[in-house]
Amino acid sequence: MLVFILRRFILLFLTMVVVSIAVFIIAESSPGNIAKNVLGAFITPEQEASFISQNGLDKPMAIRYLYWVIGNDRVAGKKIGMALKKIVTREGFEEWWAVKEDNSLVRWKVEGNDLVAVNLRPDGTMTEYMDNDRWQTIEKEKQVFWGVDRQNHAVLWVKGDTEKAWIFITGKGLMESTGGAKEYIPLKKGFVRGDPGISFRTGRPVSKSLFIRLRNSAVLAASAFVIVMPLALLLGIVAGLKEGSFKDRFLSIGGMMFSVVPEFATGIFLTLIFSVWLGWLPGAAVLGDAAPWEKPVMLILPVLTLTLIELGYVLRITRSSMVEVMKAPYIRTAFLKGLPHRQVVIRHAIRNALIAPITVIMLHVNWLLGGIVIVEVVFGYPGLGAYLLESALYKDFNALEAGAMIMVTAAVGTQLIADIIYTFLNPRIRYA
């Protein structure tokens, strides 16, 4: 049992690694140009090159993958010779600083031939001073310095040989500046440490938006789950009690119809009925900054769409499991020994009939995730699925990869849980 679970854990881990590499390779090798997406179609080649090098996109893919997974602040810190620290400013921005010998924080900029340090003391005061002693001579006449610039990169400056750089500031556009560096490492802590980097699309840290989106999706999925499960199991048992009866045919064909229709079509039908025709509910889930539970009306149609689709699937599985159990010899025995119908169904049949659906439902989470993506797009619900789609279309790979990994974790994780539940429900495996 323990060995079994351990094996599954290792398999889960391997799947995650393989998937993350696959997603990374496919996303980054796909056509389309992130620089053009961010900066617009009319940028000059120099501007594009500057953008690509500032975002570390000129590095080999293997290195970018490693940086994305485990971060690069240690590597960069070694180059600079100081520890690096991420702080959150009072305005909510994330900034990277190097930690100086006296425990104050420092970043640098280059003005002409001079290296200027910006020093942030623990009391919050900021001062600037010349810091030309830090230039390191590597060859004759050539002096270089690895430091942290003011846009959260670890950078390599060469004295007297600065590049013209274009710095993109969200909301302002592309600003030309001097004092650009030869090499950039955009600092991040890495996905496994909770920081998958900055989203190209929004300019905000991925982890911030992702958390809110994930919470919204979880609320949506959980509400649908809570409604679907009891209802579908009940209807499935009712349908499976008497195979071939009118009730059975009605429920199973009706359930099939709802479960095979694409989510967007169901969503359109429900919108037409409830918001255009009857005018009861809003046709789009406009949440703004509010949490979904603050505006429960917005949740009704998305949850209803998901419910209809999942209902049919769970119903059919419960039904076929129930049909099988009702044919089992022990049910016949129970009837023959004169137990009342109620008791046979409740004590003997249902208990055994529910093992299969409960595990299969967990495996179905894979499909549920797909349904959630579509439902979120149909109703404009700000969830993880919509975020993933927007990121994929924009080629915002920091966000796409993080979202994809979370989705895969959810899918693989529930499969693991399904396996464990199954071993607990089924004594033949538990005691093997």
Partner: protein, 306 residues
């Protein structure tokens, strides 16, 4: 195991009367018949699309955008004044009847059908090899397919299509890749069963090659469950095509693609012209339900005959 018995029953049926037998199956089940009628409606509409409408799917009438059904346009028009009935049946054409490879080359057979066909070929080959050979080949193939199945389907579609771009051929590729693991598993389980039969023993004793045994002895005997599975898969493929189109990953505009028609029309629902989103939604829903009714009915009937 229902698959096992089905394979056996189909094997014992004589080859000549198979068509008549299928027809009998079809007519004896109300469910299957309903599905058949719906599917045939769309196939006919798609096949004869040019004769069923006076408009082309691209013709714009800027004087009549977003109209409801009328004598001129039986289903109304979309936001550019294009005839919805024309777009609907030409959309069915892409799904069921033709596969536009490039602007000039067009293959018969429909995007959804090709997607399933490619998945069937690749999946059957993988399933046969891994089921018949067993050992480490089986282990490697099955573990990698397991890993693929662990990825949420929608994510797989999203990544594949955003990587290779949106076009009819790429939709076929995406549908095929997503379909392979399921088919391979089905064929493998059938192969494991058939492998133990006596006629396979005798073929081995005759000294036939592995390839002959796999593709001539085993493969034809797996067809019963595979055909029903394929029918359901065409349904999934249409579902997937619609979903991709809806997400903006399907056929590039202005192709008449059901999913993207819904996505475009959605914006006008709350402005009082729901037709552009309603008709393609009904179309895709009816076609998918039809295919499922057909497959379900046939499966039920064929199980009853055993």
């Amino acid at each position: 195991m229902p698959d096992k018995s089905k394979a056996k029953s189909l094997k014992t049926k004589p080859g000549s009367g198979r068509l008549r037998q299928t027809a009998a199956l079809l007519f004896s089940s109300k469910t299957a018949m309903t599905g058949f009628v719906i599917v045939m409606f769309w196939v006919t509409a798609a096949a004869f699309a040019p004769y069923l409408t006076q408009y082309t799917p691209y013709e714009q009438d800027w004087k009549a955008p977003n109209q409801g059904p009328s004598a001129d346009h039986i289903l109304g028009t979309d936001e550019l004044g294009r005839d919805l009935w024309a777009r609907l049946i030409y959309g069915a054409r892409v799904v069921l009847v033709v596969l536009p490879v490039t602007e000039k080359i067009i293959l018969p057979g429909g995007t959804a059908v090709w997607g399933v066909l490619v998945a069937l070929i690749a999946g059957s080959a993988l399933g046969l090899i891994s089921g018949y050979k067993g050992g480490w080949i089986d282990e490697i193939v099955m573990r990698s397919l397991d890993a693929m199945m662990a990825i949420p389907v929608i994510l797989l579609y999203l990544i594949i299509v955003s990587a290779i771009g949106a076009s009819a051929i790429n939709v076929v590729i995406a549908i095929a890749i997503v379909g392979v693991p399921g088919i391979a598993r089905l064929v493998r389980s059938l192969t494991l069963d058939i492998k133990t039969r006596e006629y396979i023993r005798s073929a081995e004793t005759r000294g036939e090659s592995d390839w002959f045994i796999m593709f001539v002895e085993i493969l034809p005997n797996t067809r019963g469950p595979i055909i029903i599975d394929a029918m359901l898969r065409v349904g999934y493929a249409i579902f997937a095509m619609g979903t991709l189109g809806f997400l903006g990953l399907g056929m590039p505009p202005p192709s008449p693609d059901w999913g993207s028609m819904v996505a475009k029309g959605r914006a006008f629902i709350l402005m009082g012209s729901p037709w552009a989103a309603l008709w393609p939604s009904i179309a895709i829903a009816s076609l998918v339900v039809g295919l499922n009714l057909l497959a379900d009915g046939i499966r039920e009937e064929s199980m009853r005959y055993q």
